[in-house]
């Protein structure tokens, strides 16, 4: 089998996640909920996912995202880091965000 040059991106605290070109976060007036639109699926993110997704703007590093979310939820950065990085790596593997 030919080896491919393409490799899996692994998250670091310096990564600046951004939603992929084919993914859109959009408020749906009919259902009064936020929807994440992708080619074959529509996701309905919960409140925590939504707050993380909103920070996926290509400007915030993961470290900065954790700080903002820590303030928002009144939580310790060390405590929420594994959750945030876990979500982001999963979304990267599912082609929803670029790290």
């Amino acid at each position: 089998m030919i080896e491919t040059a393409r490799v899996r991106t692994v998250l670091s605290m310096q990564s600046k996640p951004v939603l992929k070109r084919h993914v859109r976060l959009q408020y749906d007036k009919v259902r009064e909920a936020w929807a994440l639109l992708s080619p074959e699926r529509v996701f309905w993110p919960n409140e925590v996912s939504l707050d993380i997704l909103r920070l996926c703007d290509g400007r915030h590093s993961v470290a900065e995202m954790v700080a903002v979310l820590g303030d928002q939820y009144g939580a310790d950065a060390a405590q929420i880091t594994p959750d945030v990085t876990g979500f982001l790596q999963e979304w990267s593997d599912k082609f929803l965000v670029t790290l």
Partner: protein, 374 residues
């Protein structure tokens, strides 16, 4: 209905039945519509407006070959204006210079490109179109150059199943983010060609293994979705996510159907957009309400713990094999007719070994069905 009808999420718009390819497994109905039956631009736009009002979030622009519609960029723009996610499903053959760029400019979100084979001879044979493969490669390059995200779609069957590893390499080399390997669904033209298309069980099992290994190996590099073959299944697919539950399709002439094969259920009557508005069709059409929810179910579906997972499976497959659209999909192991699926596989393989001619396809052509269907 006991439960309220929720708004639809997705819509498949078959803009035309015209197509430069003649694939023998096309999901279009065998009675294809000519160009003069297609809805005009204004009617499609008006339908899209009503779809957005109704709650549709995603529209798949398909066909036939949707790029044969000269107004495609305008149709895309009308959906983009309403924030609807647009996915273009194309065979990628004969798209004029500058048009893919125009689709991207209009706001197209994603492009799905089909490959009938991983190599030129296979693609040409399956689609019965010379030079198709090179044109598809060119379409993929142009789509990526225009910044469009790309899914490669590979429908698989007896004649190209061994090319699965090559489809994976092809999709990687074309910079696709997603590859969909889809076992042909035996409805429409594929049902007509079932004996010529049906793979052997060992081949299916081998491909499942190859795909599962590639899914692991390519995690985070490329997504591979696999559509399993019904005839080899234990449980049926929740076809369309449940009849008239969150999606529907529209034929080129504006007829609105719960799925693209629903026309094979002759007892149903379908409304046309224009005669009725879309909201009324979604909520009140007798065809949409016929198999909505679980009230219509017979045993073994009615008392099955999977009834809201599988939704009874595919109504059209129940019609085709059990002769009753309200029966349990025979793909389900609990169906009293499940053994018939195995018998149909055997019949296909036996005809193949007995007679090389049975490998010949009835190619998809407009106006051809009448002479070939009894």
């Amino acid at each position: 209905m006991t439960e309220p009808v929720l708004p639809p999420i997705g819509m498949l718009a078959e803009l035309t039945h015209r197509c430069p390819l003649q694939c023998a497994y096309c999901s279009n109905p065998v009675e294809l519509l000519k160009a003069n039956r297609e809805m005009d631009t204004q009617n499609w736009i008006s339908l899209f407006e009503q779809a957005a009002d109704l709650g549709v979030l995603q529209v798949h622009l398909s066909g036939g070959e949707p790029t044969l519609r000269t107004d495609l960029a305008e149709l895309i723009a009308s959906l983009v204006r309403r924030g609807v996610y647009t996915n273009l499903i194309t065979a990628g053959v004969g798209i004029a210079e500058g048009r893919i760029e125009a689709f991207a400019e209009a706001g197209l979100d994603h492009l799905q490109l089909s490959f009938q084979g991983a190599f030129a001879p296979t693609t040409e044979k399956i689609g019965n179109a010379r030079g198709a493969h090179e044109k598809k490669l060119e379409t993929a390059r142009r789509a990526r150059a225009a910044g469009l995200p790309l899914t490669i779609n590979a429908p698989i069957h007896r004649h190209n199943m061994e090319e699965v590893p090559d489809f994976i390499e092809l999709a990687l080399s074309l910079d696709a983010e997603r590859l969909e390997i889809a076992n042909v669904q035996y409805a429409g033209w594929a049902l007509l060609n079932r004996n010529a298309l049906m793979p052997e069980r060992e081949a299916v099992e081998r491909q499942v293994e190859i795909v599962e290994e590639a899914q692991q190996r390519l995690r985070g590099i490329m997504t591979i979705d696999f559509v399993t073959p019904d005839y080899f299944a234990i449980y049926p697919k929740p076809c369309m996510g449940g009849w008239a539950r969150d999606a529907f399709m529209v034929a080129p002439d504006g007829t609105v159907l719960p799925c693209h094969a629903a026309g094979t259920i002759k007892s149903l009557h379908f409304e046309r957009f224009g005669d009725w508005n879309l909201s009324r069709i979604w909520h009140e059409s007798s065809a949409f309400n016929a198999f909505r929810g679980t009230d219509w179910m017979q045993e073994p579906c009615r008392s099955c713990e999977r009834r809201e997972i599988d939704w009874g499976g595919c109504r059209c497959q129940a019609m085709a094999i059990a002769g009753d659209a309200a029966a349990t999909d025979p793909a389900c192991i609990k169906s009293p007719l499940h053994a018939r699926m195995g018998a149909l596989i055997k019949e296909a393989i036996d005809t193949k070994s007995a007679d090389a001619e049975s490998d010949a396809f009835i190619y998809r052509r407009i106006g051809r069905s009448a002479e070939t269907i009894s």
